[in-house]
Structure formats: C-alpha cells, structure tokens
Symmetry: C2
Subunit: 261 residues, 2 copies
C-alpha cells in the first residue's frame, strides 16, 4: 500500500506547494508511481502541474463531501508516473459544511483507503498531500490520513516562530486521531547562504531538531518561481538549475528515510 | 471616528504582517494615532512589535468570543502613537466555536464600534487589521468591520493567481454584509526590479487594476525580514533602508487616498 506524506505548515508562503510539486515529480522521475492530492482551496499545486481551474473535473472538495470516490478525481499529469487529484475553490467551505458530518476528520483517510484497495490505486507507491496555510479541518484531514509529515520551513524569523505550532498540532493528531503519524523531516527552503538570517535560522533549527532536518536544503532560485507560470514543475522547466537539483537530492533523502524505517 | 483598514490576502507569505506592522508604524510616525489589531492565530504582528506570547494579556480571541471588550485587549507598543490588540493561538478555534454565535460575522465590527465610542478609543484615527492567510470567519470579520482593504501582493505567479479570489470575497462581503467596503489599493511587495517575473507580474497587475495599484512598491530588502527577530518594525530597526523608506512613502500614499475620498 502507498506511503502517505502530508506537506504541511500553517505559516504561509514557506514553499509547501513548491515542495509538493517538485518532490512528487522527482519521485516519479526515479520510477515511483505518485499521486499528488491538492487540498488547498487556492489550487496552486493543480495550476503548477498545468491543470487550470477550467480543466478540472471532480475535485478533492467532492471527495471530502462524499459525492465522489477519490478515483473519480484522479487525473494524469504531463509527467509520466505522476497523478493529480486537483483542488476546487469550494474547498474553502468544507470546514463549515462538514461540521456535523460523520467521521469529518477521516473523510480523506477513508477515501484514500478505498482508492488504495481499488484497481485504479494499484501500483501507487507514494501519495503526497499539499496543505493550505492553516491548521483547520483540511490540514487535520491530511494529518489523519498520513503516515508521515514533511514540514517545509522558510529560513525566516516568522516561519521559525510558527514551527512549534505545527509540531504541537502533529502531536495532538498523533495522540487523538492517528497514532501512526510521524515527522519524516523538516526541509529548509528559500535558503540563501549569503544571508545572515538564513544561517541563524538553520543553526537554530538544526540545534533543536537535529537529524529530523534533512541534509538537503532548497536554495532560493528564481527558476523555481518562474516554473509555475509555465504550468510545469521546476524539474521539467529547468532540470539543471540549483532548485531542481536540490529537489532530486531531497527525493533520494526521503526514500532513504522511508527505507530505513 | 477611526478609519478601519483590513490588510488581507488568502495567499500565504505575501507580506500582510510586514505591511500591517510597518504601515502602522509609518502612520504613527507622521502623527496619526493607530491601533493595530492582530487577527492571525500565528500572532506574527504581535511578536513583530515586541510583544511575545507570554506577555499578552487579553487577546483578540477573547474579544471575538465576547469575554472582553476591545479596550481590555489594547496595549501600548514601544512606538509612540501605536497601540496593539494582540492575537492568541486559540483564535484558530474561533471559526468552529462561533458557528452558532449571534452576529458571528460582526463580532469584530461591534467590538470596534464600542471601542471607538468609548473614552479609551478617543483620538484613534486609524485601525489596521492583520489577517490570516485564509478567507475564513476571521478574515470575514475583518472585512465586515473595515471601511477599506489593502491587498499586499507578492510579485510571484501563485500570488497573482490568487488575486481574483480575494477580489471576489471583497465583492461578496460588500454585497451581503458591509456595503461600505472598498478596495483602498494593491501594494506590490518583495519587488525585485532585476527579476523578470517581478516585472511581468507588475505589468499584469497594473494593466488590470490601473490606479488601484499604489505607485509605491515595497522592494525585497533583507533588513525588513531581520527586523522581527529584534521585536521591532523595520522603521525602528533601520529607518534608512530601502524597505523602511518604501513603507513611509506608502503611508503618505494611503493618507492621500483617504483625503481624496
Ligand atoms: N526555493 C525557492 N526559490 C525561489 N522561490 C521559491 C522557492 N520556493 C518557493 N518559491 C516561491 O515562493 C512563493 C511561495 O511558495 P509556495 O507557494 O510554494 O508556498 P506555500 O507554502 O505553498 O504557500 P501557501 O501558504 O500560500 O500555500 C511562490 O511564489 C514560489 O514560487
Ligand atoms: N519586502 C520584503 N523584503 C524581504 N523580506 C520580506 C519583505 N516583506 C516580507 N518579508 C519576509 O517574508 C516573509 C513573509 O512575510 P509576512 O510574514 O509579512 O507575510 P504574510 O502574508 O503576513 O504571511 P502569512 O500568510 O503567513 O500571514 C516574512 O519572513 C517577512 O519577514
Ligand atoms: Mg501552497
Ligand atoms: Mg501574516
């Protein structure tokens, strides 16, 4: 059955979507079969893979609300071995709409379990979930479904301040909802070696979290932020750029950690 | 009575808090009396003004839940003329807790109205509200209370993609809840003239929104991101840096627009 990884951090703009898209692509590039689930009402992971709002059929909103099975939302991307379940803007209303629903924390977990057991889900080895910048029902659904969490951390002060909140939330979900949930790791993003603040944040995080922090850091690299306007992951837009190379390295570190479990 | 400006954008990491802190400080520096309301459970605006989580008494959470009047949450900052109503982490639960509450969209508007009419609220000329990266009840409360919205827009593709969502939300709040709500303007943040993407985004936004976009742009400036780790606005940390100068210029543009109404 697939390994399910949530890409989560309530701090905004830290590189969750960028990590979800490029890590998923790098895993597909080394032969894994990957499903990327876009759980953010902004739908940036869907657009970043070239699937515009107009092209999306069934979205993760209809999956959470119980109207469709996950299989109905899963579409091929332009990348061999990479599937996408796109987001819809109406996801923003899910928190309120599911207030009295049965198993409202497990809607995604149940949908993934059914998909993984179905014909369509055979062969999928990784499921990555891109989360919105909040700790609301959507992120809790992702954490309830996941085996492990990857936390992208921008090398900035406000992002560092928020790390304890996401760590507490992971702990709460582990004790109350999903005892299997682990922290796979923290990945430093938009890392700029020349910047004093970057180095202070890195020292601080490695000091506190030790080898939970990946050796790989993702450098600030303009090619990464240009790629989504072409509807492509950075790996397709510019494979040789420092950002793409870092995500390829991160993928091999993620696989190593999975193998070492 | 005070002019109420919401600083809002559901896209994460676009510079909402940085704009709220530094615009509030710049307005106070030219003699306005300003109250900054932190409505984000992350509490970055509170920390950025030097008020750590441990030092906060009554927070905006207790104001929204009706336990305290806004006056009880308002504290002096280190900056003359700048007051702060700090956020608490429990704000994250407000959406669910207020699901059946009376006037749940107007809790903040009602609290501000009462404060503005009270002894304590006399003389306050501007109220700025820092919003979280979502379009949930907290942001709707800010938009329901506000006379106008300032939208910080990072010069990146995903941020541009999200602009239509916040515009739609403003329109919905205006037609259903708060007919007085206007868009004061869009401010381009983390602007880097040497970066092709920055220039494309700027051309696109100025093309669509014309003079709704402030002439002032906020340059990407490392001094801005260093300031919060010292608990100070950029204007106090390094007044001469390009970022601080841009926020001073933005403040005068905001005042001009207010006068021209
Ligand atoms: N390593 C990098 N170098 C340069 N730009 C980057 C890098 N990583 C991400 N970006 C850019 O920074 C912005 C924020 O990244 P992204 O949207 O992936 O963050 P997020 O955490 O998903 O944001 P949100 O909280 O809104 O979901 C995007 O415009 C993205 O293109
Ligand atoms: N002009 C700038 N130059 C350099 N860094 C900046 C600039 N503006 C903001 N930053 C940094 O970028 C990061 C994101 O900014 P900020 O936290 O203000 O955004 P936000 O929209 O409030 O984020 P959130 O969506 O999480 O509330 C912060 O670490 C901040 O210090
Ligand atoms: Mg994202
Ligand atoms: Mg903020």
């Amino acid at each position: 059955t697939p390994r399910i990884l949530a890409i989560a951090n309530q701090k905004g703009g830290v590189g969750k979507t960028t990590t979800a898209i490029n890590l998923a692509t790098a895993l597909a590039a080394v032969g894994e079969k990957v499903l990327l689930i876009d759980l953010d009402p902004q739908g940036n992971a869907s657009t970043g893979l070239g699937i515009s709002a107009a092209d999306r059929g069934v979205t993760t909103y209809e999956v959470l609300s119980g109207d469709y099975r996950l299989e109905a939302a899963v579409a091929e991307s332009d990348i061999p071995g990479l599937l996408l379940a796109p987001a819809g803007v109406d996801l923003a209303g899910a928190e309120i709409e599911l207030i009295d629903a049965e198993r409202r924390h497990f809607r995604l977990a149940d949908a993934i379990e059914e998909y993984a057991a179905s014909e369509a889900g055979q062969g999928v080895s990784y499921i990555l979930i891109d989360c919105p910048p909040s700790l609301s029902l959507l992120t809790v659904n992702a954490l309830s479904a996941a085996h492990a969490v990857i936390i992208p951390l921008q090398c900035e002060f406000f992002a560092l301040e928020g790390l304890s909140q996401i760590m507490r939330t992971i702990e709460t979900v582990r004790t109350r909802i999903n005892p299997a949930l682990e922290l796979q790791g923290v990945v430093l993003t938009m890392h700029d070696r020349r910047n004093k603040l970057t180095n202070q944040v890195e020292d601080d995080v490695r000091g506190h979290f030790g080898d939970k922090v990946y050796t790989t850091v993702i450098p600030r690299n303009v090619r990464i932020s240009e790629a989504p306007s072409h509807g492509k992951p950075a790996l397709l837009y510019d494979l040789k750029c420092p950002g793409s190379q870092a995500y390829i390295q991160l993928a091999s570190e993620v696989i190593q950690r999975e193998r070492a479990r």
